[in-house]
């Protein structure tokens, strides 16, 4: 049994005469001999599958968000409008329900605050850890593993773990504060600290990841750069600030993208920590509001429009990264 593609190609090309000039080939042959076509069996199936199940689903979700789909039954695609987005920004009672619907501002604000705080602190901490670990210290591998290990835990484990850490009576955080003469303080349901507590736990979990990315970046910088800076009399701080950190731009951007996407997925964490998709107004994020609307209230179309907003936020972060990669010819 021959490769069916080869057979097919022969069937087409055999119809023409053998070429001796090595130049003008018939159009059919040229189409089939193109690399992109010849490699189609390899890229086409995954392309179609991803196209259908990822991008197709996103597109479908966008269309769904324009309908009035609520409750059971099928969405009516004949009547599309932007009502759900108006409701998402202004609140009020849309035409498809008797109940007033909460706008997304509170959840959006929490989502952005969580995203920015989490990403910036994670990067800063990761960079610091990477620089420390990079100092040719003893047990370097051990330290690296210790810092990276929390990332291997699932959000469910981390959430339960931090619930104990924040315990008013016996939690390590309050015991530590007590050692400095503070507290104990209520953390888990404290409206002023709730979101910070969530961000802190996520930072604990993911700063190790930022460290590994930065460490790889640091190792890629030739040691001659360090030596040259030293010879020119730069202090350690100045050396890192002016010579090393500017070279970590690519590492920063790629770590940032991953971290931001993780922060958008903090749903699992909140779900486990607060026993459901109702973490309370001061820790409510778009993901929890989306699930509450879609599965709690069966407001499918409205849930979809929240999902679209969430998607656009993720895209706003990822798109510049992809564009800069494209500009540098890395795509």
């Amino acid at each position: 049994m021959r490769n069916p593609l080869t057979v097919l190609k022969r069937l087409v090309s055999d119809s023409g005469d053998a070429r001796t000039d090595g130049g003008t080939a018939s159009s059919g042959t040229s189409l089939l001999s193109r690399d992109s076509i010849r490699s189609a069996p390899f890229w086409l199936p995954p392309f179609l599958l991803v196209g259908l199940f990822v991008y197709g689903a996103i597109l479908w979700n966008v269309v769904l968000s324009l309908t009035d789909f609520q409750g059971l039954g099928d969405p009516n695609y004949g009547d599309l409008d932007f009502e759900n987005y108006v409701v998402a920004f202004d609140g009020g009672t849309p035409s498809w329900t008797d109940y007033s619907i909460d706008p997304i501002w509170n959840a959006t604000q929490n989502t952005v605050v969580l995203m920015v705080a989490f990403a910036i602190v994670c990067l800063a901490l990761g960079l610091l850890l990477a620089i420390l670990v990079d100092q040719q210290i003893r047990f370097e591998n051990t330290f690296r593993t210790i810092y990276l290990l929390p990332m291997s835990l699932s959000f469910v484990v981390t959430a339960k773990f931090w619930l104990y850490m924040y315990d008013y009576n016996t939690g390590l955080v309050n015991i530590a504060l007590g050692a400095f003469g503070f507290g104990p303080i209520e953390i888990v349901q404290n409206p002023d600290l709730k979101l910070a507590a969530v961000a802190f736990a996520l930072i604990w979990q993911y700063s190790g990841y930022a460290m590994v990315v930065y460490l790889a970046g640091l190792r890629a910088i030739p040691s001659s750069h360090f030596e040259a800076a030293r010879v020119d009399g730069a202090s350690t701080i100045r050396m890192y600030w002016r010579v090393i950190i500017p070279q970590l731009r690519t590492a920063t951007v790629s770590a940032l993208v991953v971290l931001v996407v993780f922060s958008l997925k903090a749903f699992d964490f909140l779900f486990s920590m607060y026993g459901g998709y109702n973490p309370g107004p001061s820790a409510d994020i778009l993901a929890t509001q989306m699930v509450r609307e879609a599965y709690g209230n069966q407001n499918w179309a409205y849930g979809s429009s929240i999902a679209v907003v969430l998607f656009l936020m993720a895209l706003a972060v990822v798109a510049p990264y992809i564009y800069s990669q494209y500009r540098q010819g890395q795509l």
């Binding site: 039954g73 009576n169 607060y274 459901g276 109702n278 309370g280 709690g296």
Partner: protein, 421 residues
């Protein structure tokens, strides 16, 4: 030669992966079409619930050995997960035979998908023997669509007798929610124990505490007005204010613990009281050194002694039923005393049928059943989905997740009354 071998092995690889892909795709499209048995979906995948559903099915199969059963537990986060599965199946026109759901207003969620079972299942025997409260909850807009199998009571105040006696308080003499606050103050002064074991890591315990206190303050009629969206905001706020007063007596770490830990505090003598549904007592029955009447006792939550605040599970009937006759046979069985005794003996709740022979249940259940049959009112729980439609329930849950952050009675009262709009 080498080349040949390579080619064969490559072909084998292609074949094998082809078969694997085909099998994978078949797995995707495969459904439970193969089995014709009753598809009962439930979230009782462990503990007392699992024992109860197993006992129920065993009893059913003793009577109807010819009817097959493909019982399908839905693992994961209890009921919300189950509802998602049902919702997805209904969207694809593939409902199961029946599933575990709260009756009452929760039925509106899949309202159009249910069918009338009056006559076939809800015959005169059931109508004569279910009390009016549970019977009302079995109906969706006046149509019988589901069969309640058990009743958990929400308005209980459990206590550790040793702690209560040490402090010299007598809960049996209390008659209003403010007595509970005073009693907690006395516990706090006289003992080292936490007066009121309560969890606030999620909002449901506080929500059901409020509905109990509100029932005590507004009475069954005022409670009913609230369910109809005409609640008296000042009484709603008074009830919330009472909860705020109680909050002082919650464990310091209430936001980091769950129901199980709170309930354990009462068993260990670290706390005096807990307000919970009677599943709390189910946990005590597993503890040999913690006995009803000696080590622990309970009163109907002060001010609500004439009411039995209902939380029920039920099995509804889907219109587009995969096994119409068998499902009706099963639901009819669930309406019998035999089924309800088997189920509730394991579940720790009580049967909804008044004529059930409860001598096989434990003493606590018998006492509860006695309260139930003598109760003047059987109002439906809000937190447990019987009293309000899902959208309102979500609004109320949101209000309480804000309440346990700030304990702002005024703002929450506005949210609760506004939950119906």
């Amino acid at each position: 030669m080498t080349d040949d071998t390579n080619r064969i092995s490559r072909r084998t690889v292609v074949k094998t992966s082809g078969v694997a892909v085909a099998a994978g795709l078949a797995g995707c499209s495969g459904s439970d079409d193969g089995s014709d048995g009753i598809q009962l979906l439930h979230a009782w995948s462990e503990g007392d619930g699992n024992a109860a559903i197993a006992a129920l099915i065993e009893g059913f199969q003793e009577e109807h050995p010819d009817i097959e059963f493909s019982e399908d537990p839905v693992d994961g986060a209890a009921r919300s997960n189950l509802d998602q599965v049902i919702s997805n199946r209904l969207q694809s026109n593939d409902p199961p035979s029946t599933f575990q759901t709260w009756p009452g207003k929760t039925l509106e969620k899949f309202g159009d998908a249910y069918a009338d079972i009056e006559g076939d299942v809800w015959n005169d025997d059931l109508k004569n023997n279910y009390r009016s409260g549970p019977q009302e909850q079995a109906q969706l807009d006046g149509t019988y669509v589901t069969v309640p199998i058990n009743i958990h009571r929400i308005n209980n105040l459990f206590y550790n007798t040793a702690v209560v006696e040490e402090a010299g308080v007598d809960p049996t003499s209390w008659s209003s929610p403010s007595d509970v606050v005073d009693g907690c103050a006395q516990i706090s002064e006289e003992t080292d124990a936490v007066p009121f074991a309560h969890q606030t890591s999620s909002a449901w315990s506080t929500s059901q505490l409020w509905e109990t206190v509100f029932l005590a303050m507004a009475g069954a009629d005022g409670y009913d007005d609230f369910l109809n969206g005409e609640g008296d905001e000042s009484t709603v706020e008074d009830a919330l204010a009472n909860v705020v007063e109680l909050e002082e007596y919650f464990p310091g770490n209430s936001s980091s613990i769950g129901f199980t830990e709170a309930n354990t505090m009462v068993q260990e003598g670290e706390a005096a009281f807990i307000h919970q549904g009677d599943w709390a007592a189910g946990a005590y029955s597993g503890n040999d050194s913690f006995n009803y009447g000696e080590d622990w006792d309970y009163v109907p939550y002060p001010g609500t002694s004439g009411s039995y605040l209902l939380n029920m599970d039920s099995f509804p009937y889907f219109d587009d039923n995969p096994t119409p006759e068998d499902t009706k046979t099963f639901l009819s069985y669930c309406g019998t005393t035999d089924a309800q005794i088997r189920f509730n003996r394991e579940k720790g709740s009580i049967p909804p049928r008044e004529d059930a022979d409860v001598s096989q249940l434990n003493q606590f259940q018998q006492d509860q059943f006695d309260h139930f049959t003598n109760a003047d009112a059987q109002p439906p729980s809000i937190e447990h989905g019987l009293g309000v439609v899902p959208q309102v329930k979500t609004n109320i849950s949101e209000a309480f997740s804000a309440f346990i952050e700030s304990y702002d009675a005024g703002a929450t009262a506005g949210d609760l009354v506004g939950a119906f709009n």
